[in-house]
Assembly symmetry: C2
Homo-oligomer: 344 residues x 2
DNA sequence: ATGAAAGCGCTAACAA
DNA sequence: TTGTTAGCGCTTTCAT
């Protein structure tokens, strides 16, 4: 069924040279005559030889980098990956992805799996593991953490200023005349994650901005999860309030989707009855029938930067770590408008 | 910066046993006393030993399977992956994904990369490579092809009956009273792909069903691409028709998204002015403000089945190939309705 | 410029 | 039950 692998030995024999020679030619290493090159390449072609990455891995690099994503359904991660892929295209690294399914234990397993398979480097997107664990990973393999803040210890960080981004949304809604602006956040209790995770920073930014706009008394946060169902549940709870909010700021666009599910189901119009804003500016937010007001954190640029930092670290593992923060921008679309007179 | 790897030799020395013993214990292989087990496991724990997958790969299996996806933005693939992941959870295989970015050359590179890294098996989702190429891959590594039809040569196939699915949509629209039902397909010229790719089968099913319903004269196919932009461009062209269609059947839900973008932009209401149907039943189709009529091809079940077949083939590479086809179901939601009287 | 040989970490015969 | 040893395919000194 399956034919035996063509190895470097087969090529060497076929070309009548040493395996060393083949190795050099294949790797474009110096010290080969033009004549030898052509003979070896002919044999490679003839036999259909492909170097075994496994054998190479045993001697060092694998030319493979791994990305751990929390969730394949949130299109924001596709934006990040586009950026990573773009930057990696200039190198000869292969990119493999694995999902942690939003679960800490699974995230650990997947990261270990990547390390066991000797990835040259890993990019962890919005990881939820403990900082100690992240430091351990970074100690073992060049690591870049995306979308999580906090003191970098051994790894580079690329993130968006979530605190400021949340402020942009609140300012936008307050200017439109909203006072009862509610926020749906991803539930979080761990103290480190409360300081480092984007969801927590957005919630903090929301609270801070509400106070700054004199709306401290109207702060209203519902804790669910950063996915569509979390948005649905959060909105349901907000709709049950004695006094409904006039605007809902969902911590992520995917959460806003769930909010819109719930509002549609309840027969409410957006933004007529209630305004909705998200965060991430996933391509879905631009979907015309929705036209979601959101915050653009340029996932593409984040991904590119992460890939660049990772390659730099792979090239020089002792280079000092850096922390890049991008400032986000508000993208006002059609789900936000001044509150209706009756509800004001 | 990075500490040297803990190897099986370190563990053996620490536990005062042979490397063979460690290897056996770690793999739960037979032939180890309880006493030896505990000593070895203690050493493993103490030293934080993790077997090198690269070294294992050189001896055989890697416990890794690779999935090649055309595109990370089409949420239908996430449904398939959920199914794959679910089935794989019962085995100790790790799942890595790679994107081909809808490009044949890239698909080839990515598949080679997976083979080079000695994956135990690969799942190719809606691959566009030539059949010869697929046979080559299957000849090299256990392979399951998902979402592409055709004579199986060396690989298993799991797909949905796209021809029948398209018929369900046409029947639904015809029953509602539509006659001018247009179809947006993914442009295809390669003869083999015309016979095997889901997009081509759906287009064939559309034409066949139109004739079966006596609407042969109204057949109207626009060729673009299976992504959101393709849907947008296709709809624009249909709106420019002297006599507009009353219903648009997009070959995929993601295409329908683009159609809805265009219709919204043109100020047309759905289904008031025009009905829209998709295919795939991605979770987005259930998004309440849209409520897209579509065809459910149970990506989850397809993924589960693909994973099962792959594990079976890994266990026995000579077992005969099988071809599983699932029958799809229409999911009628709110984007389809009888045509308006004026346009009839 | 070219090649011989050691060895990366692990598993699988085979011996004891 | 336990250990010795020969590779898996490649890269890398080190000779030539």
């Amino acid at each position: 069924m399956t034919r035996p692998r063509v190895t470097i030995v087969d090529v060497a024999r076929h070309a009548g040279v040493s395996t060393t020679a083949v190795s050099k030619v294949v790797r474009n290493a110096p010290g080969t005559s033009a004549q030898m090159r052509s003979r070896v390449l002919a044999a490679v072609e003839h036999l259909g030889y492909r170097p075994s990455a496994a054998a190479r891995a045993l001697r060092g690099r694998t030319d493979t980098i791994g990305v751990v994503l929390p969730d394949l359904r949130n299109p924001f991660f596709a934006d990040i990956l586009d950026g990573v892929t773009e930057h990696l295209a200039s190198s000869d690294h292969q990119l493999f992805m694995a999902s942690s399914h939003d679960d800490e234990a699974s995230e650990g397993r997947v990261t270990d799996a990547l390390i066991d398979r000797s990835m040259d480097g890993v990019i962890l997107v919005a990881p939820i593991s403990s900082r100690r664990r992240l430091e351990h990973v970074a100690h073992t393999v060049p690591t870049v953490v995306v979308g999580r803040h906090g003191p970098a210890a051994g790894y580079d960080i690329v993130a968006d200023d979530d605190f400021a981004g949340a402020g942009l949304v609140v300012a936008h809604l307050a200017e439109l005349g909203h006072r009862r602006i509610a926020h749906i956040e991803h539930h979080e209790t761990d103290p480190v994650r409360l300081a480092e995770m984007p969801n927590a920073r957005r919630a903090d930014g929301y609270r801070h901005a509400m106070r700054a706009h004199g709306l401290g008394a109207d702060i209203d946060v519902v804790s669910t999860t950063y996915n569509r169902d979390g948005g649905y549940r959060g909105a349901r709870r907000l709709l049950d309030r004695a006094e409904r909010p006039t605007a809902i700021f969902a911590g992520a666009d995917i959460v806003a989707m769930g909010v819109l599910d719930a509002l549609t189901e309840a027969g409410l119009s957006v933004p007529g009855d209630i305004s909705v804003a998200g965060y991430d500016n996933i391509t879905f937010a631009a979907f015309a029938p929705v036209a979601l007001t959101t915050v653009d954190q340029t996932g593409h640029r984040i991904g590119r930067t992460a890939a660049r930092l990772l390659l730099e670290r792979i090239a020089d593992r002792s280079r000092p770590t850096s922390q890049v923060t991008f400032f986000p921008a508000l993208v006002a679309r059609r789900t936000t408008a001044p509150p209706s007179l009756s509800s004001r």
